[in-house]
């Protein structure tokens, strides 16, 4: 990702005269491919289960296709220089998620999640279109940093007023819909972090005293940041949503490091993380049991209580092997509760195998890489930090949940971006892609002779 290739030409004087390609045709072709792949998956499920193409295949394909086309038109209209990979990856992951949820719906006839997910995807794409059309320049966001942080905190505090669901106070229920405000908060926080650090990074990096080789910033600069971070993490621990807490912390550390370049931050971050993880893992019973499960995934089997969710998840991955059982032919529904949301990756692992799982990981990697590339190409610090932050959110979230269901790290409830059932998550991820489209458009457009930055 260090080599920029054709897209980011060296900014010498001759490049000014070159008209950069928009590559919207490539994007359209890839979108068509993504939609076809999703429809193929949908048909494969039906063929495997009933021997016929499911009756809704055409409607499903058309729906996804129309959504993708609308998004594409918005990009064509208002972000012509945007990276052509971002939107197709979003469409493919969203489509694949719908296929997996539809497939799991077949096992739970009383609980159909795919239609709702399609509605939320529509809302997500609508938000995407709205952001691409209305946000002409990402730097506008910098002005609303404090509005963002206020909104983020409000969203984080809101669920405390609502009853807990499955041990975590992270949902609010309005008119039959469950919304997870923490999902939206992470984008708002990323915007705030980026804006704040872009403004204060010099003060953070150079002022203050050196203690033990660490450059400590002055309290005046660090104070507000630390306070906000503490509040958000505190709220999350109160809500017992450790995954999101971990995500915010990771985002905070990454952005601080990128903004200031002080390795001390990494050391401090790791220290804080391990102290926090140890304390919470030891003291909080809900989290403590998760750690125990991670260390001994088969303890419940040995105790004669049958496999727990993590064990079932591992069984599902193992059953997939290298090539997978094929869509519709696995038994990941044995995971039970949250099979369609937190554990959706186990279904992918079982039915698509290591091959399919690697492909999915690579799609995420590509999405993240494209985000970072936009960050590298931009010139304004806010844009760079925003792109880095958004890409890091995706990477960290994928790591936390995929590592959790795969037994790599203790399991913390979190949605797999785009794949998992969950409206707030899908909408948020479309917002992230929209923002990345916007910054990548700026990043590439700034070199074009038409652009006057």
């Amino acid at each position: 990702m260090t080599k920029a290739g054709t897209t980011v030409a060296p900014a010498d004087t001759s490049a000014r005269a070159v008209r950069l390609p928009h590559r919207r045709g490539i994007e359209l072709a890839l979108i068509v491919l993504a939609v076809l792949l999703s429809v193929y998956g949908y048909c494969a499920v039906g063929l495997a289960r009933h021997g016929t193409v499911p009756p809704g295949a055409a409607g499903y394909g058309a729906g996804l296709g129309v959504l993708a086309l609308l998004a594409h038109l918005a990009v064509r209209l208002r972000a012509p220089y945007a990276d052509p990979l971002l939107l197709p990856i979003g469409v493919l992951l969203n489509g694949l998620g719908l296929v997996l949820i539809y497939r799991l719906d077949l096992e739970t006839p009383g609980d159909r999640a795919a239609p709702t997910q399609l509605v939320w995807s529509t809302v997500g794409v609508a938000l995407f279109v709205a952001v691409v059309l209305m946000l002409r320049d990402h730097r506008v966001l910098q002005r609303y940093a404090y509005v963002c942080v206020a909104a983020a905190l409000a969203l984080l505090i809101l669920p405390i007023l609502f009853p807990a669901v499955n041990g975590a106070r992270i949902w609010i229920r309005i008119a039959g819909f469950s919304i997870q405000p923490g999902e939206f908060a992470k984008v708002l926080l990323a915007v705030f972090f980026a804006a704040y650090l872009a403004t204060n990074r010099n003060a953070l990096a150079s002022s203050g005293r050196r203690v033990w080789g660490l450059q400590l910033p002055t309290g005046r600069v660090l104070g507000p940041l630390l306070a906000i971070w503490l509040i958000s993490v505190g709220v999350l621990v109160l809500e017992r949503d450790l995954g999101t807490s971990l995500l915010f912390f990771g985002l905070f550390v990454v952005l601080l490091y990128v903004a200031t370049g002080l390795t001390g931050w990494i050391a401090l971050g790791l220290l804080l993380a391990s102290v926090g993880a140890f304390a919470v893992g030891w003291l909080e019973p809900h989290v403590h049991s998760r750690v125990e499960d991670w260390l001994h995934p088969f303890a419940s089997i040995e105790a004669g209580q049958g496999p727990n969710q993590l064990a079932q998840s591992l069984f599902a991955f193992a059953a997939g092997g290298v090539l997978g059982t094929g869509l519709g032919l696995g038994h990941s529904v044995l995971i039970g509760f949250a099979a369609k949301s937190d554990f959706i990756l186990a279904t992918a692992g079982e039915e698509l195998g290591l091959a399919g799982l690697s492909a999915i990981f690579l799609l995420y990697a590509l999405l993240v890489e494209r985000g970072y590339r936009a960050g590298l190409a931009l010139r304004d610090p806010f844009g760079r930090l925003l792109a880095t932050g958004l890409a890091s959110i995706v990477a960290l979230q994928v790591f936390v949940i995929a590592g959790g269901v795969g037994g790599l790290i203790p399991l913390t409830g979190m949605a797999m971006p785009f794949l998992a059932q969950g409206g707030s998550s899908v909408v948020t991820n479309w917002a992230i892609v929209a923002l990345l489209i916007r910054v990548s458009d700026s990043a590439h457009g700034q070199y074009d002779d038409k652009e006057t930055p």
Binding site: V258, L314, Y364, V398
Partner: protein, 487 residues
């Protein structure tokens, strides 16, 4: 800042790389351990996800599969469950498998690699073979006759084809319907508890898994030993045996059910089942030769599989002379399964040869192509052919003019031997009624069936419960069924 962004990007790449490595760890290296974890239901789901192959009697399946639509989709069903339970056993989702359902499980469940059209083909396609079928040697008519004859009384019947060792009937009574154990509901659990607590032990396969003192039917073996060892050279010569007979080295005296056994010839003593004569004969033959002959008939062998295992029939080789005397009339530590006694009868019928009994004629794929056939079975000479000829004659006389007249079949030569075995402390238990026999239609060149019947709880007073009265009619019904079945 560019440098730091690149560092952060590398960090994210590392995270995703860790995920990939972890996926390889779980999906490749740990896959087998997870797949075979007993708590992983996938193996069961696959196993019950297709119809189980069938067990066939007379070319018709006596088993079936029922689609429950549940997670473990197909459940075993049985046609005439109690009748064939001692052969099929059960195939339960909860309690495993027994008997043929157990030994032939690889074929029935489809996991046998021999069912695969090409080697490694299924490993590649992840397809599972449909279950294959198991064709038994049973004769349905004989099986039904035996089951009807026992009529729910405690007992067992085993019938063989002497020339081949094919098992024609294997009945245990009282029986149970294995179908009640097939599924995984709470009802299955209750049935299981009830069957196991039942004092009549309906799940005990008395024909092969229960040994009884064979009583007088064991005199066939004793007579064979005496003839083979040369202790008896003329079956019509007096045997110089007192009645009652004082067991050697003791003051215990052995008597007979009937009078006039003193000095009787072997022929007459066999016909009237004189304990005194055979007890003394056993002592005269000696423990070494008695044990050798018993072993040749299949006693003291715990390796017999038909293909499920058969309990070991015993003849105690470490006995003093008094114990040997009792052992020789099928008491003391002499014990036999009904199948073992059918083998004794079959040896007489087939010129002294014993062929290892078997139940599975062949196994086939669901499409009908043959996976495996029984093939010729090992033969063992249990006694000299001349000895067998003499015993054949003696056994025939038992039916024509001795204790076993109830077994006579018009138009057939029938040989038999009755037995009334005492058991329990001080012989206080209800005696077991035995009958072993073979039958040969007059048009045939050799006997077509050998059978052993045991009835445990004859409710009549002692004396009346001799094998001739209770067990012989059952044996006749079974033999008639075999002789009448068209071939």
């Amino acid at each position: 800042m560019t440098r730091y962004i690149r560092h952060a990007a590398c960090f994210c790449a590392l995270l995703l790389m860790a995920l990939l490595v972890n996926a390889i760890r779980v999906q490749v290296f740990q896959a087998r351990a997870h797949d075979t974890n007993p708590a992983n239901r996938r193996e069961n789901i696959a196993r019950y996800g297709r119809e189980r192959g069938d067990i066939l009697v007379d070319g018709r399946p006596v088993t079936g599969s029922r689609d429950t639509g549940e997670q473990l989709r197909y459940e075993r069903t049985y046609r005439d469950g109690p009748l064939y339970a001692p052969v099929t056993g059960f195939a339960s989702q909860e309690y495993g498998t027994t008997l043929l359902e157990h030994t032939e499980d690889p074929v029935l469940s489809g996991s046998d690699p021999m069912l695969t059209p090409f080697p490694l083909w299924n490993d590649f396609t992840r397809r599972r073979n449909p279950g294959g079928d198991v064709v038994t040697t049973l004769d349905g008519a004989a099986q039904r006759a035996a089951f009807r004859g026992l009529a729910g009384r405690k007992g067992a019947v085993a019938a063989l084809e002497p020339a081949t060792g094919r098992i024609l009937a294997l009945v245990s009574s009282p029986s149970y319907d294995p179908g009640v154990l097939s599924g995984n509901s709470s009802r299955v659990g209750r049935s299981w508890t009830w069957l196991n607590a039942n004092p009549d032990k309906p799940m005990l396969n008395r024909a092969v898994r229960q040994t009884y003192p064979p009583g007088s039917t064991f005199k066939v073996v004793t007579a064979a030993a005496a003839l083979d060892a040369g202790v008896i050279r003329d079956v019509d010569a007096p045997t110089d045996s007192p009645a009652p007979y004082t067991l050697p080295g003791t003051t215990t005296s052995l008597s007979n059910e009937s009078d006039g056994c003193e000095d009787l010839s072997l022929r007459e003593a066999f016909r009237w089942s004189c304990n005194t004569v055979f007890a003394k004969l056993g002592v005269d033959v000696g423990v070494r030769d008695m044990t050798a002959t018993a072993r040749a008939f299949g006693f003291n062998d715990d390796a017999l599989r038909v293909p499920f295992s058969v309990a070991r029939s015993t003849f105690d080789p470490a006995v003093d002379r008094a114990q040997l005397a009792l052992s020789s009339i099928g008491q003391y530590n002499t014990r036999a399964t009904p199948l073992q006694m059918a083998m004794v009868s079959a040896a007489v019928a087939d010129g002294g040869q014993i062929r290892t009994p078997y139940l599975v004629e062949r196994t086939t794929t669901a499409g009908g192509s043959i996976v495996d056939t029984a093939g010729p079975r090992p033969v063992r000479q249990a006694m000299a052919p001349e000895t067998a000829a003499v015993l054949k004659e003696l056994m025939t006389q038992v039916v024509t003019e001795g204790t076993g007249t109830n077994a006579a079949i018009p138009g057939a030569i029938v040989g038999g031997k009755t037995g009334t075995a005492q058991h329990g402390i001080g012989n206080a238990g209800m005696p077991y009624a035995w009958f072993v026999a073979w039958a040969q239609a007059e048009r045939d060149v050799q006997p077509k069936v050998a059978v052993a019947v045991v009835v445990e709880d004859a409710s009549a007073v002692r004396g009346d419960i001799t094998g001739g009265g209770v067990a012989a009619p059952i044996a006749r019904a079974v033999m008639e069924a075999v002789l009448n079945s068209k071939e």
